[in-house]
């Protein structure tokens, strides 16, 4: 068990160091970019004196090491600065964006897992048949499609026939009819469907391949033969025995991909104008809004590192061999 805790400690330390390096890289990268916080104040006609005062207010008149210490202190205490564009604290804007993105990502992940499980299990069960090849190739095809193209196709060919919204997180005018929480919830879910479906369709192939290969491995085990000999139905063999024993790689894949999906939402949220973290980052690149970009990149890094760490912990919990 001691070896196990040492494993967790090492992974935690590694995660912490990665985050600290990412924070420091953020400091360097955005100071190498042209312009500084004062150049984005739309103050072309301002006097040099006023600009200098603003620089002093932002701490830009200090030496680089002093700025680094100040930056680290602010970042570690949760102060990520103010947006160049809105002049409002970045933390509030990002928090709002995250709250919008997380449910959409989770729904997308649920869709991808469900599709991946169905196609993966069917492919493994009907190995070598047309169904197997069809499932795998369909998964790979969607996995290879450009995300933004697939999103546009959903807008052009799915949104109107199904009456699904193509923008925003909810009907902005719904509040005027005081509908209550249930219609509001339904409305939110309707707005989530197309962006989440895009995530689901793009990612399910990953799960198809993993489920298929681990199912094939499980289906070749002796206990499956025993189950057959006992006269269990196919359904029982798959759900009770084969699938349960194939889940380990899928669970870790879920956590690993959750971290990366945060970054991948930039394209999806931009096409669907979904006001989450991806759209926030896209807009900030356009506006050269360095504080928001800095905080956005930090968040993406932290999400990948934390999800990887959680995957490690789960592996530790689920697979005793790790601690041996």
């Amino acid at each position: 068990m001691r070896a196990g805790w040492s494993y967790v400690g090492r992974r935690a330390l590694f995660a912490l160091i990665t985050i600290l390096v990412a924070i420091s890289l953020n400091f360097v990268l955005f100071r190498l970019a042209p312009g500084d916080r004062t150049s984005a104040l739309r103050c072309q006609a301002c006097t040099a004196e006023f600009k200098e005062q603003m620089r002093a207010d932002f701490g830009l008149d200090k030496s680089i090491p002093e700025q680094y210490v100040l930056y680290m202190r602010q970042t570690l205490t949760g102060d990520l600065g103010s947006s160049f564009v809105t002049q409002q604290p970045v933390t509030g804007d990002l928090w709002k964006a995250i709250r919008n993105t997380v449910p959409m990502i989770l729904l997308g992940t649920v869709i991808s897992i469900a599709l991946g499980l169905i196609t993966g299990v069917v492919a493994a069960w009907r190995r070598g048949t047309l169904v197997d090849r069809g499932s795998v190739w369909t998964g790979l095809l969607f996995y290879s499609l450009p995300t933004q193209w697939l999103a546009l196709m959903l807008i052009l060919y799915v949104a109107t026939p199904l009456g699904l919204p193509t923008s925003d997180i909810g009907d902005p005018y719904l509040a005027y009819s005081n509908p209550g929480w249930w219609p509001e919830l339904v409305d939110r879910l309707r707005h989530m469907i197309l962006p989440a479906a895009t995530i689901g369709l793009v990612l399910f192939g990953e799960y198809t391949l993993i489920v298929r290969s681990s199912m094939l491995e499980a289906l070749g085990e002796d206990y499956i033969m025993t189950a057959r000999a006992k006269g269990l139905s196919n359904w029982q063999i798959v759900t009770r025995h084969a699938l349960r024993n194939s889940l380990l790689p899928i669970v870790t894949l879920i956590f690993l991909s959750l971290g990366f999906i945060f970054g991948g939402t930039v394209l999806i949220e931009t096409v669907f104008n979904y006001p989450g973290i991806g759209l926030e980052i896209y807009q900030s690149v356009y506006d050269r809004d360095y504080p928001v970009l800095q905080a956005g990149f930090l968040l993406l890094t932290v999400s990948v590192v934390v999800m990887n760490f959680l995957a490690d912990l789960l592996y530790f919990k689920l697979d005793p061999r790790v601690t041996e």
């Binding site: 006609a45 997180i169 902005p172 509040a175 989530m192 104008n273 006001p275």
Partner: protein, 565 residues
């Protein structure tokens, strides 16, 4: 696995419920103005009272803080939510907005405005002349600091006074030729809201959040109830508005990142109007009885700009107006309008359009598309064609140039292809250098706003009715500011100052025409085409008159509504 799926679904639902909780349920004020088409316009069709007008756009606001924002939609929001002394009417003639009447002193230095009575800010605080005096003096005081973006609207103003609650007096340093057109964008802010945020040396103004208290305190037709920079901004009717109240209860503006999503929302009944329809889709909507199109002039002009810095170190042949003239004869405006704008454009010769009225110099016509003439001019200048068909310059260089284009302007790629193919026949080879807008602007000024590196760019300008701003962008003072050509001509600058202080409008017109002629002769730009604005709205809405949604004048909301019956 089932547990994980259930858990994920539960989190999705819980998060969505939590997100729902953020929105406060409100009902817009039903009082005031809820009658059929008012406004005293008996010719306007009757409309149903109330309702919400939902508009889509792909060019959203960048902020609703007037000390920070610069996007066109932000200014449209200010026009609808803050009082101005005067405004353009439907025919672009200046008329009173908050001001009922005004008079000028004999020397043209003192302008006295009498305000309409009874106006109130949306939070119920009475509007008085003190608000105008406060805003004006704030802008004057911080003109070269935090208020620099608003200062041009009070150029040469010395002070703004409020001798009584209904009188505003503006005193100018010298007579100004365009006082009223400039005041059309002097947005008056609520003193009781702004004064506490001014801060040390006005620095608080740059950080002001007008919706910090839940909603904006507005004094125009509407106030901003909800602001979402990348989502939907909702304007609700201001119950204390000093003019004829809007017929609709609220107006929503939703920002889309692409036109496809916006049009899908229009088709799906989630929008009532879109402010700009791609020209290629006009035929789809004009043949559909569910929609009405509104096609009218705009002040949007595509142009080709040349680096006009007389001290640019390389490829100096492009400084020669004759070379530019030859290239201008290689611009096939007709083909560009037909192909890129699907016919919804007009050839342009100067920075002004027909919307500028008397200020457009109608003596100037676009250069004819004539490749033979263009070749002849370049031959006469001694730029001989080589075996590859590309001309050489006297210093041994080839006439090969990069053309900077911003990726944010629709249509430029195809336009560039057409021009490049024709210029190749002139013996001039150009390649496109596409960049995002900010990077393109920096590349034009490089290095450090000395305008030394770039040769040619393609972009656009969107002007105002009054010519002052468009004339200013090529003055020497605008290096590092609005200038995207590095043009600097002291004689032109002198005329610019003269027009600004010439009160006699006929004399001012003559100066403005002369300046357009100088610009046409020197050719820092070759103007390509003016676009037409194409708005689409569902057929059940009525009285959305041209130039609705252009942002050049106040929208007659008192007449707009769903048609009765």
């Amino acid at each position: 696995m089932k547990r994980i799926l259930t858990l994920l679904l539960a989190i999705v639902v819980a998060s969505a419920i939590a997100a729902c909780g953020g929105g406060e349920s409100t009902t817009p004020d039903q009082g005031g103005g809820g009658s059929s088409a008012g406004g005293g316009d008996n010719a306007a069709p009757a409309v149903q009272p109330g309702g919400i007008f939902r508009m889509g756009t792909t060019s959203g606001p960048d902020s609703i803080n007037p000390f920070v924002s610069y996007s066109a939609l932000s200014y449209i929001l200010y026009t609808e939510t803050y009082p101005t002394l005067v405004q353009y009417g439907e025919d672009f003639e200046i008329e009173g907005d908050w001001a009922e009447s005004w008079e000028t002193s004999d020397d043209g230095l003192v302008w006295t405005f009498t305000l309409k009575q009874g106006g109130a800010w949306s939070d119920g605080t009475p509007m008085t002349a003190e608000d105008a005096a406060f805003t004006g003096n704030l802008i004057i005081q911080y003109a070269d600091g935090p208020a620099s973006m608003l200062a041009p609207f009070l150029t040469y103003a010395q002070k703004v006074e409020a001798p009584d609650p209904n009188t505003v007096v503006i005193t100018y340093e010298k007579p100004v030729g365009n006082v009223l057109p400039q005041l059309q964008q002097f947005f008056i802010l609520p003193k009781h809201v702004v004064e506490p945020v001014v801060g040390n040396k006005g620095k608080g103004l740059k950080k002001w959040d007008p919706v910090a208290g839940g909603s904006q305190v507005g004094g125009g037709t509407f106030f901003i109830k909800q602001y979402e920079e990348k989502g939907t901004t909702i304007l609700e009717r201001n119950p204390g508005y000093y003019g004829t109240p809007a017929n609709v209860d609220a107006v929503g503006v939703t920002v889309y990142q692409n036109a496809d999503a916006m049009l899908a929302a229009l088709d799906g009944g989630q929008l009532d109007a879109v402010d700009s329809l791609p020209p290629t889709l006009v035929s789809k909507y004009e043949n559909d009885a569910k929609y009405q199109l509104q096609i009218g002039d705009s002040t949007f002009i595509y142009d080709i700009g040349f680096n006009s810095n007389p001290d640019k170190p390389k490829r100096k042949e492009l400084l020669d107006p004759k070379v530019r003239e030859a290239l201008a004869h290689g611009v096939n405006r007709e083909a560009i309008i037909d192909t890129v704008l699907n016919g919804y454009g007009k050839p342009a010769a100067t920075m002004f359009t027909s919307l500028s009225g008397q200020w457009l110099n109608t003596d100037i016509q676009p250069e004819a598309f004539d490749l033979d003439l263009g070749n002849q001019i370049l031959d006469d200048l001694g730029y001989a064609k080589g075996s590859d068909g590309i001309r050489s310059t006297p210093d041994g260089g080839k006439m090969e140039y990069e053309v900077i284009t911003p990726d944010s302007v629709d249509g430029l790629d195809r336009m560039f292809e057409i021009i490049a193919a024709d210029w190749e026949q002139l013996g001039v080879k150009v390649t496109q250098k596409k960049m995002d807008g900010t990077a393109a602007f920096e590349a034009i000024g490089a290095p450090d706003w000395k305008y030394e590196d770039f040769d040619i760019m393609m972009w656009d300008w969107v002007g105002y009715i009054d010519p002052d701003f468009m004339l200013s962008v090529i003055t020497c003072d605008q290096w590092g500011g609005w200038s995207d050509t590095g043009y600097c001509n002291p004689a032109y600058d002198e005329l610019y100052k003269q027009q600004a202080t010439t009160v006699d409008q006929e004399a001012r017109r003559a100066i403005v025409w002369e300046m357009q002629q100088i610009q046409y002769d020197d050719k820092p730009y070759i103007q390509i085409a003016q676009t037409l604005n194409i708005a689409a709205y569902t057929a059940d809405w009525t009285n959305l008159k041209d130039p609705f949604l252009l942002g050049l004048s106040k929208i007659p909301w008192e007449q707009i509504g769903r048609a009765q019956g």
